[in-house]
């Protein structure tokens, strides 16, 4: 649990850890400085910009692997100080990197998935910038992506909560920037910007919880360093358990924001407004799992508070089921995956909540692989359909034939797809691998990690097991529905008819991720429990000994198979085509509606949670803001207080000073003196007759008077 610098013979690369941040910083600085110029000057500019960013990300993977090698010899890890940051009195927070088995697992996941997605983006953004009509933004995309890697690496490698918070906010910023990457697109030309704003504000509510947790920790422990806090935690918990409960619950608020749990999950589906690689990297594989990492990192605090653990488990398992049901009712290929992500995050949060930290982290890793894969494949599908639409646009003969492609043709709507299996072979196969893994069929990665969570839930909280098992059934069902709607049957639009496979720069990362999805389960197979033994060095006493329960595994496999069969029954190509062939006016939007119409309406409209938030929180809030702005600020403060009271009062005061006081009194005195002198002079002037004899007479009289006075006194 605690780390000391130890002398050893084995090769140590711990000192390299700051480079996981420096490499992407170099990459993004390069692209900021030269990206625009390269893009303008060189015909291969996009490749240069993209590969610089990808190599910067790839080098972080190399460093992470070197750290892994070092940890094999020194599993206790090390804190690598870089610089002093804040030092106030006895409090200090430094830029130090925590290298231990937990953080290195995160670094590896982030860097390998991140690198593959960077490479994929080279191809994806090439078409995306043209499709959206602004190739100049190509470089900006990779700057933001590298900035995201920087922030995420700061988050996972921090050795104190304050540095973690810097990364936490940094990834939130990148999420905002990338959701709103096409800020001038979307509904009414601001849809994407609104989605970005929604993500920013919703996660900010969670971040307030994070800040409160930081304050509470500082108050209780006087420090924010992981090692200090975890060492002191048992004695603080013994003295006042409430404070630990507060800290852990505030952290839960932060988790619900960042990891999209009830009640703050609403931003994640809207975040699909960003380019698809962003959805894959940030909103599926890495950033949204930061909450899971936070709970796992704070395992020593959570195991002290069963109530907090209960709450986390409740939130996680409720979200898992809730979001899984919504996913069934979606038609947008990315929205299905978005709700699936929310649901799978619920699995992870429930796992770390119930104390199954290894199971949670295991699922985090496998989910990063298969959900990253699914999103990237979805991106490939969308671009394949867009390529089909483009193809039709530029072929007059085809254009005349196909009337279905209006200006509001949605290339993301699964109802416009179908039959892509034969047109996009690679994408189909990798998508199928991802979908099976997510559905939880052995022996793919998703099965092992989900089953470990279910086994733990079965042992610890039986109600959580029930919720999660039902969520798993829904998961298998909606994935079957999606795969059948997208890839099977006949194309339902001309664009899907002419869909084309993506270039190798996109499909090769997909194949690598598919390989990882197949093999990902190996890291923590039952009997071996490699990941568990690996994590033991960091999580120590917080770890549960995982058991493989054959019954649970068999049951979940059977349930998943049943769900797939049910999905096949509803959406098999023959049946779905027959359904689709019915006249549009008579048929509902989905076959499921015939059976469970109201329920499907509920799911399709996401339980009207967005509308509820608007009615209950946002509209009153906006009304309050309007009131404050119009009445309090404008009328009271501006019109009355500022304009009338302050400005008018000042005017009146200065008017008084200038008019009455200055003109009246001061000038009056000065002018009065002048007038007085004039009047006196007018009187005295008449004495000055100019006759010499008059003067002589007055002198004479004066002498007489003075002499008379002198003589007679």
């Amino acid at each position: 649990m605690f780390f000391q610098e130890t002398v050893s013979q084995a090769p140590q690369f711990f000192g390299l850890v700051p480079w996981i941040v420096f490499f992407p910083v170099i990459g993004l600085l390069f692209n900021i400085a030269f990206g625009g110029m390269i893009l303008k000057r060189s015909p291969a500019g996009e490749k240069i910009v993209g590969w610089v960013a990808s190599i910067a990300s790839g080098l972080t993977f190399v460093v992470s692997v070197l750290l892994l090698v070092s940890l094999l010899g020194h599993p206790e890890g090390m804190v690598v100080p870089l610089a002093e940051w804040i030092k106030i009195g006895s409090f200090s927070a430094n830029w130090s990197f925590q290298v231990d088995t937990l953080s290195v697992v995160m670094m590896l996941v982030v860097s390998i998935v991140g690198t593959l997605i960077h490479i994929y983006s080279i191809g994806y953004m090439h078409e995306d910038v043209r499709h959206n009509g602004d190739p100049g933004r190509y470089g900006r995309f990779f700057v933001f992506m590298n900035l995201f890697i920087v922030s995420m690496m700061i988050l996972v490698s921090a050795d104190n909560y304050l540095m973690l918070f810097v990364g936490w906010e940094g990834v939130g910023l990148c999420s905002y920037l990338l959701i709103g990457f096409w800020y001038d697109k979307g509904e009414d030309g601001i849809g994407n910007a609104v989605a970005g704003k929604k993500a920013m504000i919703t996660t900010r509510i969670g971040d307030v919880g994070m800040l409160l947790a930081l304050f509470a920790m500082f108050w209780a422990f006087g420090s924010l360093d992981f090692n200090t806090i975890f060492a002191k935690a048992p004695q603080v918990a013994a003295a006042s358990p409430v404070i630990i409960l507060l800290i852990t619950l505030f952290m839960l608020v932060a988790v619900t924001g960042k990891s999209a749990q009830i009640p703050l999950y609403v931003w994640l589906p809207d975040a699909m407004a960003g380019p698809t690689p962003v959805s894959a990297l940030i909103h599926a594989a890495t950033m949204v799992t930061a909450g899971v990492y936070l709970v796992a990192r704070s395992a020593d605090l959570y195991i002290l508070e069963p109530q907090a653990q209960f709450m986390v488990t409740l939130v996680g398992s409720a979200t898992a089921l809730f979001a899984a049901t919504i996913a069934v009712g979606q038609f947008d290929i990315k929205k299905v995956l978005a709700y699936s992500t929310v649901s799978q995050l619920g699995f992870m949060v429930a796992a770390v909540g119930m104390g199954a930290f290894v199971a949670g982290m295991f699922h985090l890793v496998t989910h990063a692989f298969f959900k990253g894969l699914l999103f990237l494949s979805a991106g490939s599908v969308i671009q394949g359909v867009e390529r089909g639409a483009h193809h039709i646009e530029h072929d007059p003969k085809l254009k005349k034939q196909s009337k279905s492609l209006g200006p509001d043709f949605d290339p993301q709507d699964m109802r416009n797809m179908g039959g892509l299996r034969s047109r996009m072979k690679v994408t189909f196969w990798v998508y199928l691998i991802g979908a099976i893994s997510l559905s939880g069929l052995p022996p793919l990665a998703g099965f092992w990690s989900k089953d470990e969570i279910l086994a733990e839930a079965n042992k610890l909280y039986i109600w959580a097991y029930v919720l999660l098992a039902i969520a798993a059934i829904f998961t298998a069902f909606y994935m079957t529905r999606q795969v059948l709607m997208v890839f099977f049957g006949k194309p339902r639009s001309a664009a899907a008819e002419h869909a084309q496979e993506s270039p190798p720069v996109m499909t090769i990362p997909l194949m690598i991720l598919a390989g990882l999805t197949v093999l990902g389960g190996l890291i923590n197979l039952p009997e071996f429990h490699t990941l568990e033994h690996w994590m033991e060095h960091t999580l120590g006493q917080a770890i549960h000994k995982a058991e493989f329960v054959m019954l649970v595994a068999a049951l979940s496999t059977v349930l998943a198979l049943l769900a797939i069969v049910a999905g096949w029954w509803f959406y098999n190509p023959r049946r779905y085509e027959a359904f689709w062939a019915e006249p549009a006016a008579k048929r509902p939007d989905d076959p499921l509606r015939r059976l469970i119409g109201p329920l499907f309406e509920l799911w399709k409209n996401k339980y009207w949670i967005d509308e509820l938030y608007w009615a209950a929180i946002l509209n009153p809030y906006i009304a309050l803001s309007r009131f404050l702005a119009d009445v309090v600020d404008w009328r009271f403060w501006h019109d009355w207080f500022h304009d009338q009271a302050l400005f008018g009062g000042f005017n009146r005061l200065t008017g008084l000073l200038a008019g009455r006081i200055d003109l009246g009194i001061i000038d009056g005195i000065a002018n009065g003196l002048g007038t007085l002198a004039q009047r006196v002079a007018a009187v005295l002037r008449s004495v000055q007759t100019g006759f010499v004899r008059n003067y002589a007479l007055s002198i004479f009289l004066g002498v007489v008077i003075i002499l008379g006075y002198l003589l007679l006194r």
Binding site: Q688, T689, G690, F691, R693
Partner: protein
Amino acid sequence: MLPIEYYTGLSVILFTLGALGVLIRRNALIIFMSIELMLNSANLAFVSFARSYEGMSGQIFVFFVIAVAAAEVAVGLALIVAIFHTKRNIDVDQINSMKG
């Protein structure tokens, strides 16, 4: 020797004549002469008292008066000549351009 009252009496008469001359006459030259008359009546009083009290200070004072009177005459006559040059007249009632 004549009593002092005779001298002072003469002095008073002369001073009064001089003062009246200054006040009444309009010819600048006559006024000048009247001033000389007043000065000399004062001189007469000075020397009379000096003789009477057998002191020297009165006689010394008379020398000063004569010296100052000589200077005054020089300046005064020069002024009268200058005024006559410009105005062709030395009537003091005509010279009132300094009237306020």
